[in-house]
Symmetry: D2
Subunit: 228 residues, 4 copies
Amino acid sequence: MGTAVIIGAGEGLSASLARKLHSRGHTLILAARNVEKLSPLQKETNATIIACDAANEKDMEQVFLEADKLGDPLDIAIYNPSARVRGPITELDPEAVKSAVLTTSYGAFLMAQQAAKRMIPAANGSILFTGASAGVKGFSNSSTFAMGKFALRGLAQSLARELHPQGVHIGHFVIDGGIRSANRPEQTGSPDAMLDPDAIADSYLHFIDQPKSSWAWEIELRPWTEKF
Amino acid sequence: MGTAVIIGAGEGLSASLARKLHSRGHTLILAARNVEKLSPLQKETNATIIACDAANEKDMEQVFLEADKLGDPLDIAIYNPSARVRGPITELDPEAVKSAVLTTSYGAFLMAQQAAKRMIPAANGSILFTGASAGVKGFSNSSTFAMGKFALRGLAQSLARELHPQGVHIGHFVIDGGIRSANRPEQTGSPDAMLDPDAIADSYLHFIDQPKSSWAWEIELRPWTEKF
Amino acid sequence: MGTAVIIGAGEGLSASLARKLHSRGHTLILAARNVEKLSPLQKETNATIIACDAANEKDMEQVFLEADKLGDPLDIAIYNPSARVRGPITELDPEAVKSAVLTTSYGAFLMAQQAAKRMIPAANGSILFTGASAGVKGFSNSSTFAMGKFALRGLAQSLARELHPQGVHIGHFVIDGGIRSANRPEQTGSPDAMLDPDAIADSYLHFIDQPKSSWAWEIELRPWTEKF
Amino acid sequence: MGTAVIIGAGEGLSASLARKLHSRGHTLILAARNVEKLSPLQKETNATIIACDAANEKDMEQVFLEADKLGDPLDIAIYNPSARVRGPITELDPEAVKSAVLTTSYGAFLMAQQAAKRMIPAANGSILFTGASAGVKGFSNSSTFAMGKFALRGLAQSLARELHPQGVHIGHFVIDGGIRSANRPEQTGSPDAMLDPDAIADSYLHFIDQPKSSWAWEIELRPWTEKF
């Protein structure tokens, strides 16, 4: 089997992805800014855990150098991190805006570059990006998140055109709605009003499993009751 | 299990869908303008075959009245028909344009109306539309197909907003590229340069299987080498 | 100067367009289903008035045969008609849906075909379509309008690709919001919450005036306070 | 009259804008990384010239502090800078990518923040961004430019939703094609195959002149012969 790298592994979606990939036999690298909370998942999936600032070039390179040591060829790389700075444009701190945009989009570029270097020679692999509805619609008081998630989508679309003909599959997932977690459980009385991370993960796996003759590059996922 | 209606069942994609749904235990109704060529598929899938002009209100109603007789509740309806009239706008025959637009889009409305009447009370079911890249990009010398496929996409998007909160799932599939068939086999030297109908059908099944908390309404599918 | 044909001339927007084009020296043809109410505008702009069912091929041809008699070459054609059938898909009358879709989109095709035949030989002219936000977003309980206005947008985009290189300019105007009229006056307390038809008309004229080196094919117009 | 700030004033488009705004009576501030080449334009338009790294917070603030000294209220701010790093993703220098993305998008945020602080209290003014087709379509070997221009478009769309209801008008111009200049003159034999900067500037002025009841936030401009 292959090796899968998940950047931003502290999210609930990442735990679902890690479990499903582990059960398929993948070797896992989980990278996150804070790795303390990852130890239960590490035990469950036998993953290698690495601390990583996703927007830091050296940190990202280090993650993939670790992946190289694991033996199985890298065939999956998933990018989850994002940062939001909310508020009227006049009240935003420029340094915080810059940092948030870089985390949401530039880190994804850094991951994609490392992954592409390894996947192109094999003409095999999937590079997947976790986007948001903010990447297709710029909301009021959310200019920072709009910049980051639009940039992420532009990166993904550009790479789909560039890398699909080289055998590397790109996926951009527009997640529209809250994701269930221990901190954000399902509300009584409104079943399925929040996204189940296992259900999202199944769409990531569907992309990974698509034969070359029928590749998607993007899908929007939202609860059945979510307005859009 | 449930009943699945496929309109425009003469396409290669429909044969893949019919086989996969049959193997899952679905009861099938296959409707097409010309039903002669459907008899091998009928034998293989034990489907009920009905002749139907998709843009004819009475024909469409008849298809669903037949479905009602089969016992299993209707939970899948798939619309494939489309008609193209190519050429410079100045050279097109207005009657042919009207007929093509109605086949590509109005027939889909007729099917969706019949399906919605049956699925909404059960808060269950999937209504799926086979679109084309012409539904998201209007090409030169293709004004008729652009009208029909844009209209189909507008219908699907409107119904996603209307029916998702009622428990009925909408899917719009933007097929971009040629589909392999006996008449259009894979070219030597360019593997996977045409869409495999079985691969497309797997994406239809992925939509059908998505839990309510994580529904997509659209996906674009194209061969890895297709320019877009 | 040239001749301008306006289809669907009973709208307030059309009166603004007619006055502005008349004051620039254009000869006008105003076509509408009901022409009785057009006589004040006819007197003001010295227009030729023709009764026309926009989705009827012969009626549309007749409008342009009248235009041919006026001497000045046709260089502007504007399509306004649309028809709405609102409600849940299960309650819509299929015949009314068909008629509405044809009025909103097929009539535009008929006009564009007549106009293109006259403009392409001169490599000159503007064909403009009045769209709606329903053409870029399919709303709930509005499947019919979504089909018609998406189809209109697909037609416009296809023709922009086809006719721009032949010197004929296409414009698609996404009008998002209510248009002021004698029947729908500006509300006290919310200035400019409805579109002023003179302001919209100025954007149509801007398209008409764009030099060939810098052509747009689409613009969205909405009041400053309109949510989108 | 008012004061207009143009960031990235070394472009040919900026010279057209500066001349047109000067002739309307606007007081001008022209900011660019290299200001030497601006002196002819400075003399012609009586502009104040400031050296500015657009992605530097302090530099941007300084530009607007200069504008405050000029007496006329700021009512126009235009952002032109962009930076491209072309090539396969595997060959790009991460530091160059980061710098290019920040110049193309983060600098626009910095300008918009300064402008919004001054325009919101007056409920008046236009903030205009020069985009590119790379902002709506991510091209192969152009991931960096896609990130920057998508982010710029996300910023503009978010600000349209946020600032239009506060009386500040946003414009995003999707320039698709080469712009004529002394260095890139019109080719013999293909008239109007490159955008005339004066024609583009007229569309900027059209946005500035739109009444509040009929505001656009985006327009695509391309030569009549440009493929899209």
